[in-house]
């Protein structure tokens, strides 16, 4: 099952290389839809009562090095896999509706990227994870560099892409070194293995954990990106073709956050506890800096881009609260953020087509003749600012509650990001849809082509808003296990803590 899920996009992509130009877009969309069907089938068959890996594929790949080709889903990744499939369907369909240069290659690369992303979510072998993680870069390098647009006010697409690659490559190389080191040190001269579960069992000395932790953290934080490591983001986002940005911003950042949960927490528990506050400081800085930047930017892509930095800050903070509720919220929020940022970029693309600019100051008044677009955008904007009633709110609520219980000061600072998000999301909405319509801009309703891409994504947002339990319930077990692996028996589980409180209360009652 996982095998077919993983390789379906690639297979479609290869076949597509030999198809006529006209059919290729639809063929690629079909591939994404088939993948989505498989992902849904996996979710349906998913047993939420189990914390262990399911649907596993495990074959020795390079036995001499202890590298396995092993895949599996559990509560940590099952919804991220689904998110990937959903957003790629949207992104591919969106691209298929528009003219692309050299379409065969474009869609081939899109589908390669999907396989690589799914691979990094599914991989249960450290080296396999690293390989897929790096493989993700390759298609995006070409997609950004070749199909991206040069800008008058910034560097060329090639330069922007180069910058992104240099950043992420440094992270990737560090991670490769770290992965190999982990396996060698853990084997302690014995049998070499890269299996994550096996490595977790073997355990690592505290000293080695310390430096390896930061190697991995660097790779993941660059990918998100986190504060100070986000230098590649503005240029890359401005250069990137918008259909690609839909999947890139929606999914890739999550691979970084997911990496913390899959690799760092289980393999380096001591270092995780030791550096908890350091990472939290970075997360907080990302929230504040991303928000502040988002509300001063005038380029609509960058508003979305910097808001992502802030959102990923929240997610990181949730993971490093090192409590089950925080991590549950973080996973929910990864899905939520993907589901809002992808339609956001679709909307940005639609707006740019209508106004001919990406400058917020030169936009406005679009709502008049496009009430459907305005309504869809309003829902997306409200979800972006984590309006209570949206699943994003529940995500942030869980994250902040976890942080509040663990590190109250951090939570109080982080929550100011919520107020700022209200400001920048509303500013983006008002700046484009409301106020006066500038000369030269045309307020036009979206056609059915954009509608079929946008509406399902918005429906996902609404559905999750009504029932976030869908995700929380299925992630709970795995998350609890992952977190308990770090905190050991020291920190009581949330549930237990409540029972203790209830107990205290009864004692007080009888005492009086």
């Amino acid at each position: 099952m996982l095998n077919s899920l993983l390789w379906t996009p690639l297979a479609f992509g290869i076949v597509g290389l030999f198809l006529p130009k006209r059919a290729i877009g639809w063929w690629a969309t079909l591939g994404a839809v088939v993948t989505l069907g498989l992902a849904i089938a996996i979710l349906v068959g998913f047993d939420s009562g189990s914390s262990s890996l399911q649907d596993t594929v495990d074959v020795a790949w390079i036995p001499g090095l202890g590298v396995d080709y092993s895949l599996g889903v559990d509560g940590l990744n099952v919804f991220l896999v689904l998110l990937t499939a959903v957003l790629w369907t949207g992104g591919t369909a969106f691209a298929a509706f528009r003219e692309q240069e050299r379409p065969q290659l474009f869609f081939f690369l899109m589908l390669v990227a999907e396989t690589a992303t799914l691979g990094s979510f599914l991989a249960q072998d450290l080296l396999l994870f690293v390989l897929f993680f790096d493989l993700m870069l390759v298609p995006f390098y070409f997609l950004f560099g070749v199909w991206g647009s040069d800008r008058e006010d910034g560097p060329s697409a090639a330069a922007a892409t180069l910058k992104m690659i240099v950043y992420t490559l440094i992270g990737s190389l560090l991670m490769l070194v770290a992965a190999i080191a982990t396996a060698i040190i853990a084997s302690d001269g014995g049998h070499l293995t890269f299996s994550i579960a096996e490595l977790q069992r073997q355990g690592l000395g505290e000293d080695s954990q310390r430096w390896i932790f930061w190697f991995f953290a660097a790779a993941f934080l660059v990918k998100m990106p986190a504060f100070m490591l986000h230098g590649w983001m503005p240029d890359a986002y401005r250069a990137a073709p918008l259909p690609v940005l839909v999947v890139f911003s929606g999914v890739l950042a999550k691979v970084g956050a997911y990496g913390f949960l899959r690799v760092v927490l289980p393999l380096f528990p001591d270092a995780t506890v030791e550096f908890q506050e350091a990472i939290l400081v970075i997360a907080l800085a990302s929230i504040l800096y991303g928000s502040v930047m988002a509300f001063t930017q005038t380029n609509v892509r960058l508003i979305a881009g910097y808001s992502s930095i802030a959102q990923l800050g929240f997610i990181t903070a949730g993971i490093f609260a090192l409590r089950a509720d925080g991590a549950d919220g973080a996973i929910l929020q990864m899905v939520n953020h993907g589901l809002v940022v992808a339609p956001l970029f679709v909307i940005v693309a639609v707006l740019v087509e209508r106004t001919g600019t990406e400058d917020l100051r030169a936009m406005g008044g679009m709502a008049l003749r496009a009430p459907v677009l305005a309504a869809l955008f309003l829902i997306v904007a409200m979800a972006t600012l984590a309006m209570p009633g949206s699943a994003n709110f529940i995500g942030e609520f869980y994250i902040l509650n976890g942080l509040f219980e663990e590190k109250i000061v951090f939570a109080c600072i982080a929550i100011s990001g919520v107020a700022m998000s209200a400001f920048y999301a509303l500013r983006l909405y008002q700046g484009t849809m409301h106020n006066r319509q500038p000369d030269g801009a045309a307020s036009r309703e979206i056609g059915w082509r954009d509608g079929v891409v946008l509406a399902p994504l918005v429906l996902c947002i609404l559905g999750l808003a009504l029932y976030p339990q869908l995700i929380l319930h299925r992630t709970e077990r795995s998350v609890q296990q992952t977190v308990a692996g770090v905190t050991g028996g020291e920190a009581p589980e949330a549930k237990l803590a409540n029972e203790m409180k209830a107990h205290d209360w009864e004692v007080t009652l009888t005492g009086r």
Binding site: L131, V138, M293, T296, P388, N498, L509
Partner: protein, 670 residues
Amino acid sequence: VSATAWAWLVLLFPLLGSITIGLGFRVLPTRIAGAIGTAAIALAFAAGIATLLSLLGEDPEARHHASSLWDYASVAGLDIKLGIFVDPLSVFMVLVVTGVSTLIHLYSFGYMQSDAGYRRFFAYLNFFVFSMLLLVLAGNFVLLIVGWAFVGFASYALISFWYRRQTATKAGMKAFVINVVGDIGLTLAAFLIFRELGTFEYSEVFEKAPHVFQTNEWTITAICLLLLVGAFAKSAQLPFHTWLPDAMEGPTPVSSLIHAATMVTAGVYLIARTHVLFELAPTAADIAAFVGLATLLIAGTIALVMTDLKRAIAYSTMSQIGYMVVGVSIGAYSAGMFHLMTHAFFKALLFMAAGSIIAAMANEQNIDKMSGFGRAMRFTSIAMVCGGLALAAFPGTSGFFSKDEILAYADARGGMYVIFTVLGYLGALLTAVYTFRLIFRIIPGRPCPEAQELIDTGHVHHPDGPPLNPATGETEDADVGFPGPDHHIAEQSWPMKLAMGVLAFLALAGGLVQVPGVDDVIGAFLEPVWEGSPLAAIHPSDLAEWEGLGVGAAISVVGIAVAWFLYIARPETPALLQRKLRPLHTLFVNKWYFDEAIDFLIVRPALAIGRFANRVFERFVVDGLVTGTQETVRGSGSVVRAVQNGFVRSYALLLIAGFAGLALYFLLTN
């Protein structure tokens, strides 16, 4: 059918109404949309009555029920259900909200008729009522926050309803952001409650709290202060009030419903709902009461000098909510809720009358330009006087009984709480003066040109040329439909007349349900909610209440007489006073400089930080890091450059090749 089932129906009708109108915005004929919207709220009101009857059929002690639909987000020890809580307090709020909303929908049915956004208006208005009902029916703090935020959103959407007006969108943003600050206060309070009590459910929280917290322990005080941030932001109390006057950018029915009758009273409801916690934190409760008192007085002074009709009434709303906050903070719970109800009647009415007059003035809101409407618009004028009398607490009207009940309670509680009685009466004097200042400027006298036109021709005045924004004088973007081609006044529109007629009756007679020594309908109904509260057990004697009423009556009459003296008998005195008391007048006209202070302390620094981050930090530090490295590398020679340029491409190709090779290896070995 149980009380909770009826309560779920109360929620369902407005939601369905909003969704139907929203989805049918292209196909529904405008009037049908309005009818659906109005009917949905009327049905919710009927379901509310049914809830009430079902509750009254039970033993008073058993009148509280919880019910939930499904697990909303319940993992990791946080148990969050989609649940409601039905007790006399929530049913009381439901009835006030749906009752007044039905009338305001009816009014809007006529008032908004020529507006291009008619359907959108009703979809938003129904959504607002749904949110407000969610807020008052929520059974746990999380759902409360959801209702709380939905209400804020609906308010935002309706304030910036004419979304091509820059002033309207700005006002909407301000309201939304300040409301989010309030949401954050509530959220933090919820976290702290969970941390201490391990639950979000109302019933459990209120049951456990007295056993867990010591009186005035820092945690419970912090919880209450955080709750107050939420309450004050929504109820426009100092210093979170600046959004309310600006919110008058929205259509007048919105000002009437949301920004006078219902939403802004949510904070009062919250304090009453969590009174168990506030009684454990008397310090926080006192802070709340003093903020309420300060708001009451400051807003009253501003209302004295405002020349914008709607803004003057908005400041009066703030001031009246100040009374309610004082009431529920010092323990006069039933009295506070009673005043909430009567205020909903008379303030909604005042806004409706103001809307009718503003329509006749072709959207001019400056009272300096109005006069003589008594002859031109008899019905509207009578309605306005009815509302004004109730607001000024004229003997016998609804406001007379409700306001004095709060002040009499403060007196009965004694100690320092007597301050609230004394200064409350001072506020009452201000209220009578500013209310009748408006009435005496607008209704008597020589008709202004617009009123004269109405008398002569029977037609509402239409200005020549394009419509102008009354706030800025800019030309309006007429595409949005505002101002609609026709303006509607109560005299010419039966739905408006009907809504105002009912409210005028309620404003005058609504207080008779709660006359000291005669009847105690609301107090008795709400009694079970405050069960076990020592503060609620304090009752002023009937004699004391009647004494209070006597003082109140005198103050009201004096206030009206002062207004008569200032604006009718000696119309030159206000200008004289203005010159004599220039510093004071300047302070009031500039609204005590709250906007400027917030701008200076929060908005400007935040934007400055943003600009610094953008222009300096991002460019020189974040980017400089990379560029610097690149430059250094470049500087070290062309060999390196070649490597660097070729490096990435080779790496990419190498990676693909390597991957393909490994895959091949895998296929071969298996």
